[in-house]
């Protein structure tokens, strides 16, 4: 007899019927998970906190639909994911400037034989995520080279680094991107 499984459906049924205690129980059990998950996707602690509270509030407000649910953890995943999607949908289309690379900025050797538009967009996003994580110097040098089209000599003058260092940073960046 699976006590734990049937106990959870019992709790969910009680929550659907309006039990404050069961709501508190699920909140204390899962709120940290929800908040962490959201934070990892929106990269903002206070936004994650707000979204987490919204998620649980919505669970309470539409608790009657919980009747058919058998796993609270899975249900919370769906609610949290939808909340993250709503967050991004509301933000609309971002303006990309500064250090965000576009297709034209990609060195041809990287693009390889990607033909499909979606594949190129995916790859571009992956490139940008990776570049965004690079150590500051490397990122700055690489963007000055690909985005602003500056020559190594000009980058060296602008940043105060030696040309050799600039070359080093660029080759390191390319190596990192080639391995994607």
């Amino acid at each position: 007899m699976d006590i734990e499984g049937s106990i959870e459906s019992d709790y969910i049924r009680r929550l659907a019927e309006g039990s404050y205690e069961v709501f508190d129980y699920f909140y204390l059990k899962y709120a940290s998970l929800v908040e962490s998950f959201v934070r990892v996707l929106v990269k903002d602690g206070s936004v994650a906190e707000d979204i987490c509270q919204e998620v649980f509030l919505n669970i309470w407000r539409s608790r009657h639909v919980l009747k058919g649910v058998s796993s609270m953890k899975n249900y919370l995943f769906i609610m949290s994911k939808n909340a993250v999607y709503d967050f991004y949908l509301k933000r609309g289309h971002p303006k990309t400037e500064e250090e965000f690379l576009t297709v034209e900025n990609l060195p041809p050797s990287l693009k390889g034989d990607l033909q499909q538009e979606e594949d190129i967009r995916d790859f571009l996003l992956l490139v940008n995520v990776t570049v965004s994580e690079m150590p500051e110097q490397r990122r700055r040098v690489f963007c000055l080279s690909r985005k602003d089209g500056l020559k190594n000599k000009e980058i060296a003058q602008l940043t105060g680094l030696s040309e050799k260092t600039v070359e080093y940073h660029i080759s390191k960046a390319l190596a990192q991107l080639k391995s994607l």
Binding site: M1, I3, E4, I7, D10, S19, Y20, E21, V22, F23, D24, Y25, Y27, L28, A31, S32, L33, E35, S36, F37, V40, L41, V42, K43, E49, Q53, F56, L57, W60, F77, S80, K81, V84, Y85, F87, Y88, L89, R91, H93, P94, T96, E97, E98, E99, F100, E118, D119, R121, D122, F123, L125, L126, N128, V129, T130, S132, E133, L180
Partner: protein, 322 residues
């Protein structure tokens, strides 16, 4: 690894710029290959282990309180409703003045904590001491306790104390004896239901005093027992796990004889269980109990042991052969 998975996992573990974040968000919500994106997100969800979930319980409880304002739970609290819930519930009441504990009062007020039947409560006293109260128990103390140099509480029923060491003695009083400690973990049961009052020490040391007898000092693993009928008391060595597991969120019983299982459940639910003739108390059971009501747990016991469960009253249960 597909590129979608790569993007999502890279993004999740990194610290990208705002631009990249927004670009990611725009990409994420598009219908294109949404199933693959969801699968990658689900992986992240399932892999978030408890180490990442850094959040003190106190902060979490405060956030829960804020939600209560919207769910209507707050209104219900101020009406002091008791519910027989399987989940721990502790109700805090100020005896004089009738205000809730959260308001600041200048004159020291007496605070009384009660637990409903079928519930257990965890509470933190003003000096930082943790108390777990078993169902149907009462704890009283002065609100300025911990600031006046001596710490005193009054207990009826059963409570487990994790006393904070602050240099002042902590005195726990019941109607039949006192327990004095400096900082330690111990459990006291002084309840009309049982024939014996008990003080069990988990760590540290306590001194138990009672009218007319010399004070007794207890060490970890020792238990002071007072027989109510004869008034006699003694100290014996016990396995503290037998007496201190009632407040643990999950109690695991692995292949224990029925008699032991019932003993543990008696403690956890503050009930007395009698067994009819012919019921095999040596038969072995394994089960895990968390926040279930006693009705639920005993109905499972009944099924597992093929016995009938009778409630003579709320505190007395009889198991008989089917």
């Amino acid at each position: 690894m597909t590129i979608i998975k790569k993007i999502i996992e890279r993004f999740a573990s990194g610290n990208p710029s705002r631009e990249v974040r927004d670009a990611f968000g725009e990409w994420l919500v598009e219908d294109d290959r949404q199933q693959a994106k969801e699968d990658a997100l689900y992986r992240i969800w399932m892999n978030l282990c408890s180490e990442d979930l850094s959040d003190s319980t106190r902060e979490r409880r405060m956030k829960l309180e804020m939600l209560h304002r919207h769910t209507g739970a707050e209104k219900r609290k101020s009406r002091l409703l008791w519910r027989c819930a399987g989940i721990a519930a502790a109700v805090v009441v100020l005896l004089a003045g009738g205000f809730l504990l959260n308001h600041r009062m200048r004159a020291p007020q007496a605070v009384c904590i009660l637990t409903a039947d079928n519930a257990r409560g965890h509470h933190i006293l003003p000096d930082g001491t943790s108390v777990w109260l078993n169902s149907g128990s009462t704890l009283r103390y002065a609100q300025d306790m911990g600031r006046t140099g001596s710490r005193e509480v009054f207990l009826e029923g059963e409570g487990y104390f994790d006393v904070v060491h602050d240099g002042t003695p902590f005195c726990m009083k019941t109607s039949s004896f006192d327990v004095q400690v400096l900082g330690t973990q111990f459990c006291v049961r002084q309840s009309p239901l049982f024939n014996e009052d008990q003080v069990t020490v988990a760590s540290g040391s306590v001194q138990v005093g009672s009218a007319g007898t010399a004070p007794v000092v207890l060490s970890p693993g020792e238990q002071y027992v007072m027989d109510k009928g004869s008034g006699e008391s003694c100290v014996r060595k016990v396995d503290t796990a037998d007496y201190l597991s009632w407040f643990a969120p999950i109690m695991v019983m692995d292949n224990l004889p029925l008699s032991k299982v019932l003993e543990k459940l008696e403690h956890r639910y503050n009930v007395k269980v009698s067994v009819g003739r012919g019921v095999d108390t040596l038969s072995r059971l394994s089960l895990k109990v968390s926040d279930e009501t006693k009705e639920r747990v005993f109905s499972v016991i009944g099924i597992l042991t093929n016995t009938e469960v009778c409630y003579i009253d709320d505190k007395h249960i009889l198991l008989t052969n089917n």
